[in-house]
C-alpha cells in the first residue's frame, strides 16, 4: 500500500475520464460541461486568493452620482457589468472581494468538520464497543437536534465573529462524515490486506492511516465536496439572518442581505451575489455527482 495520496491521484485522474454509460456525442459535451464547472470554481478560487486585486474597481469606492445603476451600465468611472449599489459601489467588485471570506469560512469549517468526523468515525469503526456506541449516539443526537437554531443561539450569545462562525459550522456536518467513515472502516477492517498488515505487526495507527484511510479516500472526497456546498449555504443563511459575519466584512450572504432592502428598486443587488453563490454550490454538486458516478458508488 502506497501513500494515501496515491489513491487520491488515481481517483481524480479517473474522475475526468469519460463515463462508460454515456454515448460518445454526449461524452464530449459532458466533459466540456464538467470543465466549465471546474473552470468556474478555479475562477472563484482565484478571486478568493487575490482578494480585490482582480476586481475592476475598488470595492469600497463610493460614487454619489452613480447610485443603483442597473447591470451593463456606465458611470464616469467606466463600465459596471453588474451595476452599482446604493452608495455607487461596483457590485461585481464587491462580489469578487466577497469570494475570499465566503470561501475561507466554507473551506475551513468544511475541513474541521471532515477531520473531526473522519477521526471519530475511524475510531468508532475500528475499535467498536463503548467508543463506537458513544460516537454514534452523539452523532445521532446531534442530527436529531435543530442545529441551525442552536447555531443562531450560539452566535447571539458569543457574538457574530468569523471565529465563532467557523467553530459552529463544523458541528452541522461532522456527523455525516462520522457515519460514512465508520461504515467504511467496519467494511475494510475485515479485509485481507488489513488482516495481513495487522499480522505483520503494524500498529493501529499505521493500519488506519496507510491501509484503511487510502481505501476510503475517494468516498470521503465526494462527501467533502457535497458538504462544502452545505456549509457555504449555511454560512450564507447565518449572515443573511444577521447572526453571521458582520459588515464591513463581505461575504456573498451578507451582500444578499444588504441588497434585500433595495429589492423593489435594484433587484441585482440581492440576486446577483446569490447567483454567484448558487453557481459555486451547483458546480460542487455537479463535480461530486460526476466523481460518485466514476467511482461506481452513490455517495
Amino acid at each position: 500500500m502506497g501513500k494515501w495520496s496515491d489513491g487520491v491521484i488515481e481517483y481524480w485522474s479517473n474522475a475526468f475520464k469519460p463515463h462508460y454509460s454515456i454515448t460518445p456525442v454526449f461524452q464530449r459535451f459532458l466533459s466540456l460541461g464538467l470543465l466549465i464547472w471546474v473552470g468556474y470554481l478555479l475562477a472563484v478560487t482565484l478571486f478568493a486568493l487575490t482578494g480585490s486585486d482582480l476586481a475592476p474597481y475598488d470595492p469600497t469606492a463610493q460614487q454619489v452620482l452613480a447610485r443603483l445603476l442597473p447591470p451593463f451600465s456606465s458611470s464616469s468611472r467606466g463600465f459596471h457589468w453588474l451595476g452599482t449599489d446604493q452608495l455607487g459601489r461596483d457590485l461585481m467588485s464587491n462580489m469578487i472581494a466577497g469570494a475570499r471570506l465566503t470561501l475561507f469560512i466554507g473551506l475551513v469549517s468544511n475541513m474541521i468538520g471532515m477531520a473531526v468526523g473522519v477521526v471519530l468515525g475511524m475510531i468508532a469503526g475500528y475499535y467498536g464497543g463503548t467508543l463506537d456506541r458513544l460516537v454514534m449516539r452523539l452523532s445521532e443526537a446531534q442530527t436529531a437536534m435543530p442545529m441551525f437554531l442552536v447555531a443562531i443561539f450560539f452566535l447571539t450569545v458569543l457574538g457574530p465573529t468569523v471565529l465563532n462562525v467557523v467553530i459552529i459550522l463544523p458541528t452541522l456536518i461532522w456527523p455525516s462524515f462520522a457515519r460514512l467513515v465508520r461504515a467504511e472502516t467496519l467494511r475494510l477492517r475485515s479485509a485481507l490486506f488489513v488482516e495481513a498488515a495487522v499480522a505483520t505487526g503494524a500498529t493501529d495507527w499505521s493500519v488506519l492511516w496507510s491501509n484503511i484511510l487510502p481505501n476510503m479516500a475517494p468516498r470521503i472526497m465526494v462527501l467533502t465536496v457535497i458538504e462544502l456546498g452545505h456549509v457555504m449555504l449555511a454560512e450564507a443563511g447565518l449572515s443573511f439572518l444577521g447572526v453571521g459575519v458582520q459588515p464591513p466584512a463581505t461575504t456573498w450572504g451578507l451582500l444578499i442581505a444588504r441588497g434585500r432592502a433595495y429589492l423593489a428598486v435594484a433587484w441585482w443587488l440581492a440576486i446577483m451575489p446569490g447567483v454567484m453563490l448558487g453557481l459555486t454550490v451547483l458546480a460542487l454538486n455537479m463535480l461530486s455527482r460526476r466523481f460518485a458516478a466514476t467511482s461506481g458508488s452513490a455517495a
Binding site: A141, A144, M145, I152, G229, I256, A270, I271, G274, L277
Partner: protein, 311 residues
C-alpha cells in the same frame, strides 16, 4: 432480523426523543448561562460592578453548575421559560403565539413539496435519461444549490416587483401564503424528487417489475400500482425528513424574507434585541417539533413497511 414489538419500539423512541430534548436544553443552558453572561446582558448599561454582582446573586448565577441547571430544567418542566426581556410577557406565550403561523406555512409548503416532488420523481424515475428526467434532475440540483432565502427574494422580484401579482410580506390573506410556501415547496420538493426518483428507478430494475411487464401488464399499472406501493415508504419518510429540515431552521429564513409572523421571524427579532428567554424558548419548542417529527417518521416507517411489521 429481529424487530422488537411496537410498544417496546415506541418506548425506546420516546426515551431517545426525551434524551435529545434534554441535550438541547443542556446545550442551550451551557451556552446561555455558563459561556454567556446573562447578568451582564440584563443589567442596565450604566450598572456598576457591584450592581451586576448583586443581580448575579439574585439570578442564582453564583450557584454551582448542577444546581443552576436543575433549577433551570425544573422551571422548564413547569412551563416557565422566563420573561421576555423585550415584550415583558412570559417567553413561552410569545413563542406559542407565533407557532400557528409557522405550522401553517410549513405544512402548506410540505404538502406541495411532497405532491410535486413525488409525482415528478415517479415520472422521472420511470423513464431514466428521458428529457423529463434530465431537465427535472438538473432543476432539482439547481434548487438544492441556491440558498432558500435567495430563492424567496427571487420569487419576490419576479412575482411581486415585476408582475405586481402577489403580496410579499406579512400575513394578510391566503395569497400571502403563496410565495413563502412556494419557495419552501420548490427547495424541499427538489430533495423529495431526488430520493423518490432514485427509489423508483431502483424498483424498476427489480424482478417483480420484470414479471409484471412480461405478463403483459400495462406500464401505467406497473408504475402507479406496484412500484408506487413499494416506494411509498421512501416517500413518506423523505417527506417527514423534509419537515424536520423545515422546523430545524430552513423555514425560518423564508419567514424572515417574507416577514411571516412565525417563530423564525420571532427568533431573529429576539436575537437582535438580545432577548434570550424568547430565543431559548423558540429553540426548545422548535426542537420539540423536530424530535416529535423524527419519532412520527420512524413510527410511520414501521407501520407502512409490512416487512418490518410482520417480523
Amino acid at each position: 432480523m429481529n424487530h422488537p414489538s411496537l410498544s417496546a419500539f415506541l418506548l425506546t423512541r420516546l426515551r431517545d426523543g426525551l434524551i435529545v430534548l434534554f441535550l438541547v436544553t443542556l446545550v442551550i443552558f451551557v451556552l446561555g448561562h455558563v459561556i454567556g453572561d446573562p447578568a451582564g446582558l440584563m443589567a442596565p448599561v450604566d450598572a456598576s460592578e457591584q450592581e451586576i454582582a448583586r443581580l448575579r446573586r439574585q439570578l442564582g448565577l453564583d450557584r454551582p453548575f448542577t444546581e443552576q441547571f436543575a433549577t433551570y430544567f425544573g422551571s422548564l418542566l413547569r412551563g416557565d421559560f422566563g420573561q421576555s426581556l423585550w415584550q415583558d410577557r412570559p417567553a413561552l406565550t410569545v413563542v406559542l403565539e407565533a407557532l400557528p403561523a409557522t405550522v401553517l406555512l410549513t405544512l402548506v409548503g410540505l404538502v406541495f413539496a411532497g405532491l410535486g416532488g413525488s409525482t415528478l420523481g415517479v415520472l422521472a424515475g420511470a423513464r431514466p435519461e428521458s428529457a423529463l428526467d434530465r431537465s427535472a434532475n438538473f432543476l432539482s440540483i439547481t434548487a438544492l444549490s441556491v440558498p432558500n432565502f435567495w430563492l424567496g427574494l427571487l420569487l419576490i422580484v419576479i412575482f411581486a416587483v415585476n408582475l405586481g401579482a402577489l403580496p410579499t410580506s406579512g400575513f394578510a390573506s391566503w395569497q400571502s401564503l403563496i410565495l413563502p410556501a412556494g419557495a419552501l415547496a420548490i427547495i424541499h420538493g427538489a430533495r423529495v424528487f431526488q430520493l423518490v426518483r432514485s427509489a423508483t428507478f431502483e424498483e424498476m430494475t427489480k424482478p417483480y417489475t420484470l414479471v409484471a411487464r412480461s405478463k403483459g401488464l400495462p406500464e401505467r399499472l406497473i408504475l402507479w400500482k406496484h412500484i408506487l406501493r413499494n416506494t411509498a415508504v421512501t416517500m413518506m419518510t423523505t417527506i417527514g425528513w423534509e419537515y424536520v429540515r423545515m422546523m430545524g431552521g430552513a423555514a425560518f429564513a423564508i419567514e424572515v424574507v417574507f416577514a411571516w409572523p412565525g417563530i423564525g421571524q420571532l427568533m431573529i427579532n429576539a436575537a437582535s434585541r438580545q432577548d434570550f428567554p424568547v430565543l431559548q424558548a423558540a429553540v426548545i419548542i422548535a426542537g420539540a417539533f423536530v424530535v416529535v417529527t423524527n419519532g412520527v417518521v420512524d413510527l410511520l416507517y414501521r407501520v407502512l413497511d409490512a416487512r418490518i411489521r410482520a417480523a
